[in-house]
């Protein structure tokens, strides 16, 4: 029971969108897909859904190739949001649900239940074009899951939602995870990943640079981070001179520093005590996903590589 992507490659013209990507995504968990713009996340999702065909490699779900898996298996929330502008919301949801094989009466009941849950029951008879962007996004999410798919793939599901709706969506996702569904989503919001995901993959220009459980990824960096706060000295200037230590942040409450691979984080505490500082806070932790992401992706590449809206790539 898992989604396996095996050395999948895809090239568009002279852009290598995916370069021999291999991943195994276990069911019953939420999987985070990280990467800068144009890293290949959307292409990977489209290939998993068999909307695009890879140049080489394969995708299997429960052992059978994705080209043979019935379409009801997949739920998809594309990055490009779109609905039939002049169609009523409820008709629209029933339409998509029926395409996935759900009987019309059931589709209707469940659509109404979801509209209720997302606190927009009054929009059932409105046309999609009359809704705000955030509400259209919720409608699209409902359209993606109404047929109760085994695997849910979402491209940037949280962008554009207010905090209340983010909470509603998170609740729905964790509930689906607890039902044993496999959920994959891409995002730039690291705190969302740390909060929701058990496993992640980081893509950079079509290459897989990191994958595994969130804890393993953070640990595997081999680096450790210490956070120190002492009474009466918010800047803790003496840390600058310490061997094997690199200051990464001087905040209001604490100073954060990275400890070199061959040094012991305890040396910071010992040094503080040796200076007779009154230690308010001392913490040894793994680097955050954000730090790892920036390190692995080599800082933010500002050049857009997104394939969709560009004219010269095909």
């Amino acid at each position: 029971m898992s989604l396996i992507i095996e050395s999948v490659s895809k090239r568009f013209g002279d852009v290598q969108a995916l370069d021999a990507i291999s991943l195994e995504i276990a069911p019953g968990q939420i999987f985070g897909f990280l990467g800068a713009n144009g890293a290949g996340k959307t292409t990977a999702m489209r290939i998993v859904l068999d909307i695009l065909r890879p140049d080489s490699g394969s995708v299997t779900w429960n052992g059978s190739p994705n080209t043979r898996v019935s379409r009801e298996t997949w739920g998809y929330l594309p990055e490009e949001r779109g609905l039939y502008a002049r169609m009523k919301v409820l008709d629209q949801l029933v339409f998509f649900s029926r395409l996935h094989g759900v009987e019309a009466g059931r589709a209707r009941r469940e659509a109404l239940a979801w509209l209720d849950r997302f606190r927009i029951p009054e929009y059932a008879d409105r046309r999609a074009e009359q809704l705000s962007k955030g509400n259209q996004q919720k409608i699209q999410f409902i359209a993606a899951i109404l047929h109760d798919p085994q695997v849910l793939l979402m491209d940037e599901p949280f962008t554009g939602l207010d905090p209340v709706n983010v909470a509603l969506l998170k609740e729905a996702l964790t509930e689906m995870r607890d039902e044993g569904k496999t959920i994959v989503f891409s995002t730039h919001q690291m705190e969302m990943v740390e909060e929701l995901c058990q496993s992640i993959a980081i893509l950079d220009r079509g290459r897989l640079v990191e994958s595994g459980s969130v804890r393993d990824v953070r640990r595997a960096s081999g680096r450790q981070v210490v956070r120190l706060a002492v009474a009466g000295d918010p800047q803790i200037g003496w840390l600058d001179g310490m061997d094997g230590l690199r200051i990464t942040r001087r905040g209001q409450d604490f100073v954060e520093a990275e400890v070199g691979r061959d040094h012991d984080p305890d040396m910071v505490l010992r040094a503080a005590l040796a200076r007779d500082c009154r230690v308010l806070r001392f913490e040894i932790t793994d680097p955050s996903l954000e730090e790892i992401f920036i390190e692995r992706v080599g800082g933010f590449d500002t050049s857009e590589r997104t394939l969709a809206p560009r004219s010269e790539s095909a």
Binding site: I51, R71, G75, Y76, G82, Y84, A85, L99, P309, A314
Partner: protein
Amino acid sequence: MSAWRSLLPNAWIIAAREYRTRVASGAFIAGTVILAAIAFAVTQAPILIDYVSGTTQTRIAILVRASDAPRQGAAVLDNALNGGTGAGGHKEYVLTLLSSTDISPAQVALEKGTFDGLLVVDRDPASGNLAFTLRTDMPSDGRQVVMITSALHVLAIEDGLERAGTSTASVLAPANLQVVPVSTSGSAKTSNLTQSISASLLTTGLIVLIFMAILTYGAWVAMSVAEEKGSRVMELMLNATTPIQMLAGKVIGHGAAGLSQYGIVLAAVLAGLAAQQPLRQAILGSSSDLSLGGLQLPVLGTFVVFFVLGFLFYSLLYAALGSLVSRQEDVTSATSPLTVVIMLGYFMSVAAVQSTSDTWVVVMSFVPFFSPYMMLARVSAGHIQPWEIGLAVVLLLAAIVIALTFAARVYSAGVLLYGQRVGVRQILRAARASR
């Protein structure tokens, strides 16, 4: 091909959605109402023409100076001039018999325009025959004068017979002519010329119907594909369905909407024809024969078959081209090559109606791009073997299958291409790269 495996029910669900959306749109309703109104009006045109020509009356004053002229003279003239008109019908010639033999007041009335002509009846003392003088501004070789001349001829004969002492009652009885059909089928044939003209007019009309349907409803398909792509709802659809299901649904949905429109317009035509007789009775007080001359069953059958197949073939290509653009505004330019081909076929077949046995017509009538029109032209001309029609249908069906496969490939790749210029290379690459 796994895509073929399950065309239903998704193609049907999509077709139903497309149909409902199209039929509920303002453009569809307005277009249907206008077309139906035009169709109804056209069927009433003959009444209008008859009515307008019928209201033109020629008023003739008759001044009889020959005292021994036949007493029934005015009635004889009236019968000869307005002979075809039934009782209570509209009279084209209004005859007024003046009581006075003084010509001056009649002259004044003629100059004032009260009458269109003044007919003076005298007795020629030399020959003893009646002498007629018509004072009028009507052209001397015009229809009215010709009619009056022949009516006067009848009157002159009547006068001669009366003077010879023959009873006139039998002479004045209307001639009894019975028309006996030559063919055994029962209906009298009109002249060959008339029939071939009405047949070729009808054929041209049917060709125009197919032409309009393919252009209009094909464009609907292309527009709706581009709209789906432009609103980005396409990716949701791609996950839910296969390209072939989408294509089939769109083509069937819009085709059905188009047929509905044609059906409504046809109903308006039939209603118009049905209303024609009562209306004619009410307005003109006369009836006329209603004929759909030259409408033969083989032509109608060919029309229906090629109408449906031609629409399927072209709308698949329209869908493929529509999938290559990102915005609805670009649809017209993207589909223009197809429009040119359709126009070409139309003009060729209009020309072919007059020369159906030319070699180029025969050859072109098998080419799937043109056979929907060209076959219609050939079938209505009649010089065609049944196997030729069969071959054209088989070729067109094969072309539809190829078009479906090709369109599905272009479509599934094309719908994911955004913001790109469309060229032959893109189309081929799209067709190659897709699932």
